[in-house]
């Protein structure tokens, strides 16, 4: 793939991730997010490299904070985003044995765990840990949803990357 095509693709997916951040901000779950942009991170990790995935995640978090976030939201996103990426990076080599759904569920759980840890730092207490149970519970449907989304989009993107015309 040419360098220009690669850059264009990464930029497009960064745009998609930003839109997903915005959509996610509309879901009334407070500062706790279900991790929709992780679909884009997962796809970049799969189609390009894991390093690029981290880069996209960090760029997405910085941009979304500038556009519609606050400092606390930044701490939350950063904690969730980095932990989710670590889980994706660790489980992706086993893709084939484990599908996008399993990876996404783990990533969503890590995302919520990271946010809770960030909340502990923001509050300066361990009180937010008491909410972890329903955040982890929420991570299962959220992860299944994002995993299915990633699975559907991945097939089409692969087609597009290989020069398909009707994708």
């Amino acid at each position: 793939m040419s360098q220009a095509k690669k850059i264009t693709f990464l930029a497009l997916l960064l745009g998609a991730a930003l839109i997903l951040s915005y959509v996610e901000a509309l879901v009334p779950l407070g500062a706790f997010k279900i991790g929709l942009p992780n679909v884009a991170v997962l796809l970049i990790c799969k189609l390009f490299s894991r390093r690029m995935g981290l880069l996209l995640s960090l760029a997405r978090i910085s941009l979304s904070t500038l556009l519609f976030g606050s400092v606390t939201a930044f701490a939350f996103s950063l904690g969730g985003g980095i932990l989710a990426w670590i889980l994706i990076a660790l489980t992706l080599p086993f893709y084939g044995k484990i599908s996008f759904i399993g990876i996404s569920v783990l990533a969503a759980a890590a995302h919520n765990f990271g946010q809770t840890i960030a909340a502990c730092f923001v509050f300066g207490s361990v009180a937010p840990l008491a909410m972890l149970w329903w955040l982890l519970l929420l991570a299962v449907p959220a992860g299944i949803l994002t995993g299915m989304l990633a699975q559907i989009v991945c097939g089409r993107l692969t087609h597009l990357l290989n020069g398909g015309k009707n994708a």
């Binding site: 009334p28 783990l106 909340a119 207490s125 937010p128 008491a130 149970w133 982890l136």
Partner: protein, 129 residues
């Protein structure tokens, strides 16, 4: 078409996927057990504007201000609930009432937290001190 796609996506679930889901559910269960095993609390520790103080679990309505937002907190029958909030998220008002030691209600924008304190003795000491 899209329902068909979702069906196909679901069919691709492998054993490790189910294990991953079970692992997360088990972790959630453990966290829940840890929170719900606590005995019912005698007081609520309120953290607002950087200060922490106890509210006894006696029936009543309190209005608390933190970081410019206002919260109506209702205590009745040994449980504490946020009934009204003017913060943009209003997530805390949607959270379930808390009654067991360790349970929390948190408002992130206002940096307000309510935590049920388990020890009856400690709570009374807090008021006296």
């Amino acid at each position: 078409m899209s329902i068909f796609m979702i069906g196909v996506a679901l069919m691709k679930l492998h054993l490790p996927d189910l294990l991953a889901i079970l692992l997360v559910l088990a972790l959630a269960g453990m966290c829940a057990a840890f929170v719900f095993m606590g005995e019912s609390g005698a007081s609520v520790l309120v953290s607002a504007n950087g200060y922490t103080y106890p509210l006894l679990m006696t029936d009543g309505v309190h209005v608390i201000e933190s970081a410019g937002y206002h919260f109506t907190i209702e205590i009745s029958d040994g449980s504490c609930n946020v009934t009204e909030s003017d913060c943009p998220d209003a997530l805390c008002a949607a959270m379930p009432a808390i009654r067991r030691a360790g349970e929390v209600i948190i408002c992130v924008p206002a940096k307000l937290s309510l935590r049920v304190d388990g020890s009856e003795k400690g709570a009374i000491d807090g008021v006296a001190g």
